[in-house]
């Protein structure tokens, strides 16, 4: 299966000088090994956001190279660049010393690079075998037909390499996540991949499956496959990694050997101090009465015994890695996910799991993804700005366009939303202005003891709009609203929140405030120590 890689390399060492064809590779391996893949000054930006800047990286055959970084540090952009999904704005990627032009994911696959994303890319209703050969099915005599025998054999050999013990002719949809992962790896091997990139493969599987995966990774490594691995589990990083590279704000901070460092040093390097200005709170307010209290809240989306309190005038942060349960908590409180246990109390009264009731009780929810959950993109600024408060603006159920436009104008004015008219579709606004609409639409439901839930309020918008939005949120806290802010930007969390809950695996791992509220302290609680 993997005949061309690793295992037979060292044989050629002795004859290295005589036979240049084989020798270049072999000699290099013997003395100073030459990297299989080199990234030189790779940069990528999205609009005003610089996702990667000048990243250099070397990847060797037979190594496990761990990428570490906070949410938004650029790990995902980097692996999507390797996968050919994004084309870098600047810099080059070399494979075996040759410049690689990746026009798309299929080019990367042909070059021997396979990426296993967090959301697995298998076709659920096809069988395991069919998925493994997908895209390069063996032909049987005429085009369009599939040679089932060759397909079965190819799949069998690849599945053997990863120790897959399920039914190769069963549907992928019926497999556990861990087994689906194995199928993805087998698929990569069947496509003769030499570089395997895995995005947090152990985040969503059990301890036992993770141990199994580690063994397979060790095996692949011995066969000369290069493995790029993203993980937040410190113990795993130290067990598996040959080298560790830390990214922060799209830059490579350092590459180090695990033996030469400690988890504490790595965490410090991950958070660091970010350059650039971010919004500083003008003043802090005295926390008043309790607005929201959850007692042992559990949900179908994976929350376990969440106890959280938000008081009037307080900005409470929810920190944690992606998938730690931050958004899920907000959804459970708002009534979007089924609650499976515990209580949600709003102003000391039980709050039923119903978004309609939540909005009528004064809860505002500013979701993470503006385009999917926040805005009706084709509709006007006015339509969007008046949506949650229709019942408040028109208590008798009759709507007048003039009155709606009047309310919208007031909000546009107050939030300084840059739009030509109230009738402009929100699709045409900039990201920052769209975000102002997503937040602004909750303002007409007035009240000074409201709960405002804001999920990643400053993601993907420019610095100026960021400051304006945070100032607006601070103003709501000053009026006496309780703010629950979910954010992946640690400097923002530390600088803006009065108190922070750090979540991990769907539960609260710790609560930080005052002098204890630092980026290092948050990361320490957020990453898996497995102990």
């Amino acid at each position: 299966m993997l005949e061309e890689s690793g295992s037979e390399g060292p044989v050629g060492i002795g004859s290295g000088i005589a036979a240049p064809d084989v020798g270049v590779l072999s000699a290099a391996r013997a003395d100073t090994p030459r990297p299989m893949m080199v990234l030189n000054g790779v940069s990528k930006s999205f609009g005003q956001m610089q996702a990667l800047s000048q990243v250099d990286l070397e990847i060797y055959a037979g190594e496990v190279h761990v990428l570490l970084g906070e949410n938004g540090a650029g790990k995902s952009t980097l692996i999507k660049t390797l996968a050919g999904i994004y084309a870098p704005d600047a810099g080059e990627i070399l494979l075996d010393g040759n410049r690689l032009a990746l026009g798309g994911p299929s080019d990367a696959r042909r070059a021997g690079i396979s990426v296993i994303h967090q959301e697995l890319a298998l076709v659920p209703h096809l069988t395991v075998e069919e998925n493994i050969v997908l895209g390069r099915e063996p032909r049987f005599l005429i085009p369009g037909s599939i040679d089932r025998r060759v397909q079965r054999e190819t799949a069998r050999r690849a599945l053997e390499l990863v120790g897959f013990d399920g039914d190769p002719r069963g549907k992928v949809a019926n497999l556990t996540t861990a087994r689906q992962q194995l199928v993805e790896i087998a698929k990569a091997l069947a496509h003769r991949s030499r570089i395997l990139v895995m995005d947090e493969p152990t985040a969503s599987i059990s301890e036992r499956d993770a141990t199994n995966l580690h063994a397979i990774i060790g095996d692949l490594k011995r066969r000369g496959v290069a493995i790029v691995f993203i993980s937040h589990r410190m113990r795993e990083v130290f067990e598996l990694a040959d080298r560790v590279t830390i990214l922060r704000d799209g830059r490579k901070i350092l590459t180090t050997l695990p033996d030469a460092t400690t988890p504490e040093l790595l965490i410090k390097a991950m958070v660091g101090r970010t350059v650039g200005s971010f919004y500083q709170r003008l003043e802090r307010f005295v926390a008043g009465e309790v607005i929201l209290e959850t007692r042992a809240l559990c949900s179908a989306a994976g929350l376990v015994d969440m106890n959280i309190v938000v008081r009037s005038g307080e900005v409470v942060g929810l920190a944690g890695l992606v998938g730690s349960g931050r958004t899920e908590f907000a959804r459970a409180v708002f009534g979007l996910d089924r609650r499976t246990g515990g209580e949600v109390l709003l102003h000391q009264l039980p709050l039923p799991a119903d978004p309609v009731r939540a909005v009528r009780s004064g809860i505002a929810f500013v979701p993470e993804s503006r385009k999917e959950h926040g805005l009706a993109l084709t509709k006007s600024v006015c339509d969007n700005l008046t949506l949650p408060a229709l019942w408040k603006i028109f208590p008798h159920g009759f709507r007048s366009r003039r009155r709606a436009a009047g309310v919208a104008r007031g909000l546009i004015e107050r939030l300084r939303i840059a739009t030509r008219s109230t009738r402009q579709p929100v699709r045409t606004l900039s990201g920052g202005n769209q975000q102002k609409v997503v937040i602004g639409k909750w303002l007409p439901i007035e009240g000074n003891r409201r709960l405002i839930i804001i999920d990643e309020p400053t993601r993907g918008i420019d610095v100026g709009a960021k400051a304006e939005i945070l100032k607006l949120v601070e103003g709501l806290a000053a009026e006496g609203c309780g703010i629950l802010m979910i954010s992946s930007e640690l400097p923002e969390v530390v600088g803006f929140c009065d108190r922070v809950y750090v979540l991990q695996s769907g539960t609260v791992r710790g609560e930080l405030s005052g002098a204890h509220l630092t980026e290092e302290a948050i990361m320490k609680l957020a990453v898996h120590h497995d102990s």
């Binding site: 909005v359 979701p367 009759f398």
Partner: protein
């Protein structure tokens, strides 16, 4: 909001006065113009077109198409679809015919037709909103179930001959205007008021534009879905009454030829199949446009084999024109 902030806001947004017309209003005007040009053209080619007899006939035909499409327009605007309207009409008409045949009561007949329409709509709504099944599948399944019900109920024998006062709703005149046209105007007005002048109507539009955003804004999405399906069923029930009164006969195939033209009328009227945009006035214009094209072909003695072809041309032409106009704007 105080007087001063209102004032300053208006000053900044004086541009609203000169701002582009509402896209929905623009699309209505465009359709009106096309309709006027079409009528003028046909009238020049054939003097019978504008005769009272012919024009009343056209309007009467269009009104039936509109009635069956009116409720379904709301369903599509709210982001779902109703493929069962033709079958609802069939079952409502057949059972109502049977009831009238047995009792001789027009009132009971009308009540039966409406009750069946509303119940079928409610069933659609509960399956789609309550059990979260895909609207296409639910209403397509309902189409077969209701058609099957009508076939079983009729047992292969059509029912004909209804009380005079019942037939009034389908073929009578009031102040010289055919009653179905008055019903069409009433439904179009009432529906437009709900859609454009109530908060519920606005909620329907917005949930069609983005269901997730509407849910997060506290819009009772499921309740509204049930409402639009009930409205659609009720309209189909009403259309059944009109259709029975007009043809004076019920048979289990009467709704089938209406489903696809009704969807064509909705789409020609400028309602987006993806939800979030659309008007009842547009559907009325769409129904008129399609009916007039077919009528003109009859008058100009163009073979009836060309009629589906013409419907297709009108449909694709409307889509093309909208796409072209929207692209030029942005």
């Amino acid at each position: 909001m105080t007087e001063t902030t209102e004032m300053s806001a208006i000053r900044t947004f004086r541009s609203d006065a000169g701002a582009p017309l509402d896209p929905e209003l623009r699309s209505i005007i465009a359709r009106f113009v096309v309709l006027a040009v079409l009528c003028a053209g046909v009238a020049l080619l054939n003097e019978n077109f504008l005769s009272v007899a012919n024009f009343t006939n056209v309007l009467r035909q269009a009104s039936l198409l509109f009635l069956i499409a009116a409720g379904a327009t709301l369903v599509i605007i709210a982001g779902a679809i109703d493929l069962s309207v033709g079958a609802i009409l069939t079952l409502s008409a057949c059972v109502a015919a049977g009831v009238m045949h047995a009792t001789g009561s027009s009132g009971l007949g009308i009540a039966t037709a409406l009750a069946i329409g509303i119940s079928a709509g409610l069933a659609n709504g509960i399956l789609v909103a309550g059990l979260r099944l895909p609207p296409f599948l639910v209403t397509y399944g309902m189409l077969w179930i209701l058609s099957g019900g009508a076939l079983y109920y009729m047992g292969g024998i059509p029912i004909t001959g209804f009380p005079r006062e019942f037939r009034f709703l389908g073929s009578g005149f009031l102040l010289g205007i055919p009653v179905p046209i008055l019903i069409m105007i009433a439904i179009a007005l009432a529906g437009s008021v709900v859609l454009h002048m109530t908060t519920v109507g606005q909620q329907m539009v917005m949930m069609g534009a983005n269901r997730a955003a509407a849910t997060l804004a506290g819009i009772p999405v499921r309740r509204n879905l049930i409402c639009v399906y009930v409205a659609s069923g009720a309209c189909a029930g009403l259309a059944a009454v009109v259709a029975l009164g007009r043809v004076n006969s019920a048979d289990p195939g009467m709704g089938d030829p209406l489903l696809l033209p009704s969807i064509a009328a909705i789409l020609v009227g400028g309602t987006s199949l993806f939800g979030g945009t659309g008007t009842l006035l547009g559907t009325a214009l769409g129904a008129l446009l399609l009916t007039i094209v077919l009528n003109a072909m009859n008058l100009l003695t163009i073979g009836s084999a060309w009629q589906p072809f013409a419907t297709g041309i009108v449909l694709v032409g409307a889509m093309l024109a909208d796409a072209f106009l929207n692209r030029r704007r942005s």
